[in-house]
């Protein structure tokens, strides 16, 4: 079922025609995002920034939505030396807030808005959401280990000094020692935010996101 090709970002009616039947249909699906004004109101970006972001977005994904494959492809171009597919998978799930299996421009903008222009609280919240793979409100050691391994894979084998095999596991231990206050084996959102706010390094790093765009 072919839909009409879209004419651009600015449309009067906020129609979201999103039919994702099968792989073949993906090529002909056209997704029209919300209007520019609406997005400007919902996110913390200016109109010009939204225009630039949308142009880049549409260039890579003419159909208007990103599926996990494309997401992984794009992300791996930034980290050519390692295998970033696992981390990209977690990232994708974090961006895909409504768990539809695709990331639309609105999801993309919402995520970026929080990460680049949000408060420290919001950023930490987002990071917690990223780590909590099954979205149950708790970060277990297994989830953390998965994330850590994904990050180490992404950095690749060409690090200096060369990392040991169990470096991820040790890293997780350190993390849990720092974050898990009541030593119950899981980290809740409050423990996470509290521990991060106490850590100077993390706070300083958070400030760096201001001028990314």
């Amino acid at each position: 079922m072919k839909l009409l090709p879209c004419s651009g970002a600015k449309t009067t009616s906020p129609d979201i025609q999103n039919s994702v039947e099968d792989e073949m249909e993906m090529a002909t699906v056209r997704h029209r995002p919300e209007t520019l004004e609406l997005l400007e109101a919902q996110s913390k970006f200016t109109k010009k920034e939204l225009q630039i972001l949308y142009r880049g977005f549409k260039n890579e994904c003419p159909s208007g939505i990103v599926n996990e494959e494309t997401f992984k492809e794009i992300y791996s171009q930034f980290f050519p030396q390692g295998d970033s597919t696992t981390y990209a998978h977690f990232l994708f799930n974090a961006f895909d807030t409504d768990h539809s299996g695709t990331v639309s421009f609105e999801d993309f903008i919402m995520g970026l808005s929080i990460l680049l222009r949000g408060t420290v609280q919001e950023k930490l919240n987002w990071a917690f959401n990223l780590y909590d793979i099954n979205k149950d409100g708790y970060i277990t050691k297994e989830e953390m280990l998965d994330i850590m391994k994904a990050i180490y894979d992404m950095m690749g084998k060409c690090t200096y000094p060369v990392l040991k095999e169990d470096a991820p596991r040790q890293h997780v231990e350190t993390f849990f020692q720092k974050m898990d206050k009541n030593k119950d084996g899981v980290v809740t959102i409050d423990e996470f935010i509290e521990s991060c706010q106490k850590d100077e390094n993390i706070m300083r790093s958070m400030q760096l996101f201001e001028n990314v765009i």
Binding site: N59, F78, N201
Partner: protein, 447 residues
């Protein structure tokens, strides 16, 4: 791909939130873009047609003309646009390269014009996308071949040459009959004698009236002396010609191995062999067979006819198609002969006595000749016979168009080369008769 993906850089940086809380040390500062301009549109005026694009689009490839500061040389202060006095059609493809990261080759463009444009804009042809790369390479090869042909024909100038020794003059006379009148005379004389020889061979066998009391004689035996004299004269001429060519050839070894020289030798050998072994009853049978080889004199005409040479060259270049035709025909013949033999085994007085005997029927049927000397009598035989004739048409019809198109291509190439040569000759002729003081200006075209 880096071009479009660069727009996702903010996203990649934002994703760093993932490893920040687990990092052991603070994150390094992200590099800030100094002199970060607002993205602006620039206008590219190519021979009057205006193209517009973002500045950052062009800057994706900084080692090309449009991506570097080299384009400032073309900036027009009055109209505030970049003016290029080049082809706007090709520019479309070039600008699309900046936009999409893939360089396409439009099929209707001339290959050398396209190459020139690419060279002007500083783009290497190697980055042409896979979709168009085959076409580009094919056209480039064709062009190179055509240029080589031109250069070859140029290297045989018709103008005044430094004096050659006798051997080289003779060789040139043999290869290009129109260089001197002597060569032309020689050319026509040999042609005439080839024709005479072929006609005598043919007329020799015609029945020529009866000697009273005897059966009808062919002319060859009735006027044996006359025919022998004619034959001798022809062979004399051919021998002299062959020896002269052998003497004049720049590389004797290569000349001896060439096809034309082999034909020459085969044409005159039977006569000499016949002289050597006269009236020896045992081998006269073999001697008669040798006379068949005299018909090869007709191939000597290929020196005189370009069409014949082209045909020979085509057959040589289509050797694989011809081989395939032969192979598939052989397969089909064997299959059908076997089938027909077993189908006709039952019928009485069948002509299909063995499988090799059925070969004849199969060949005659597949080529749709249908002599009718062997016909199947059983119903099964007739069915298979009809299948055989239908498949014969198909199998033969398939490789033939390939051979035809090859012939056509080579023929047209030759025609083009001839035309160009004729043009050059007429050009040099007019130049010779114009009162020019400086002849080197028009000495050879293309130099």
């Amino acid at each position: 791909m880096a071009a479009g993906v660069a727009a996702w850089l903010p996203f990649a940086r934002a994703a760093a939130i993932g490893w920040m809380p687990v990092a052991n040390c603070p994150m390094p500062l992200a590099p800030t873009d100094k002199n970060k301009r607002q993205d602006e549109l620039i206008i590219l005026n190519v021979s009057g047609r205006r193209f517009q694009t973002w500045r950052t689009t062009l800057e994706r490839y900084p080692d090309t003309l449009l991506g570097s500061t080299e384009k400032e040389f073309f900036f027009n202060e009055d109209t505030k646009e970049y003016f290029f006095d080049r082809d706007p059609e090709v520019f479309r493809a070039i600008l699309n390269f900046y936009r999409t990261g893939k360089l396409h080759y439009p099929r209707y463009e001339c290959i050398s014009a396209y190459d020139e444009e690419l060279a002007f804009y500083g783009i290497l042809p190697e980055i042409i996308g896979d979709c168009c790369y085959e076409e580009y390479k094919d056209r480039k090869r064709e062009n190179a071949e055509r240029l080589m042909d031109d250069n070859d024909s140029e290297n045989n100038p018709e103008g005044s040459m430094p004096s050659l020794n006798l051997r080289e003059t003779m060789w040139r006379a043999f290869e290009n009959p129109h260089t001197s009148t002597l060569a032309l005379v020689f050319y026509y004389v040999t042609g005439f004698f080839i024709a005479v020889s072929v006609i005598t061979n043919v007329v020799e066998t015609v029945p020529c009236g009866t000697v009273p009391g005897n059966k009808e004689l062919p002319c060859g035996e009735r006027y044996a002396v006359a025919f022998f004299c004619l034959d001798t004269a022809c062979v004399m001429i051919f021998t002299v010609e062959y020896l002269l060519r052998l003497f004049a050839a720049p590389s004797r070894y290569r000349f001896i191995r060439s096809v034309m020289s082999i034909i020459d030798v085969v044409a005159i050998m039977p006569y000499y062999i016949g002289l050597v072994m006269t009236n020896n009853e045992d081998v006269s049978g073999a001697f008669v067979t040798l006379r068949v080889f005299r018909v090869f004199r007709i191939f000597k005409f290929s020196r005189h006819s370009q069409g014949l040479r082209i045909l020979g060259y085509t057959l040589k270049s289509c050797a694989s198609e011809l081989g395939f035709l032969l192979f598939s025909l052989t397969m089909a013949i064997i299959i059908f002969a076997t089938v027909m033999f077993y189908a006709e085994k039952g019928s009485s007085a069948s002509k299909f006595t063995s499988i090799p005997a059925s070969f004849w029927y199969t060949i005659v049927t597949m080529t749709t000749l249908g002599y009718g000397d062997m016909v199947p009598k059983t119903i099964a035989g007739k069915i298979f016979g009809s299948i055989c004739s239908l498949s014969g048409v198909l199998v033969i019809a398939l490789p033939v168009p390939v051979i035809v198109s090859n012939f056509s291509r080579i023929y047209h190439q030759n025609q083009r080369a001839d035309k160009r040569r004729a043009q050059k000759v007429s050009l040099s002729y007019t130049q010779q008769h114009l009162p020019l003081t400086d002849c080197t200006v028009y000495s050879r075209s293309g130099q």
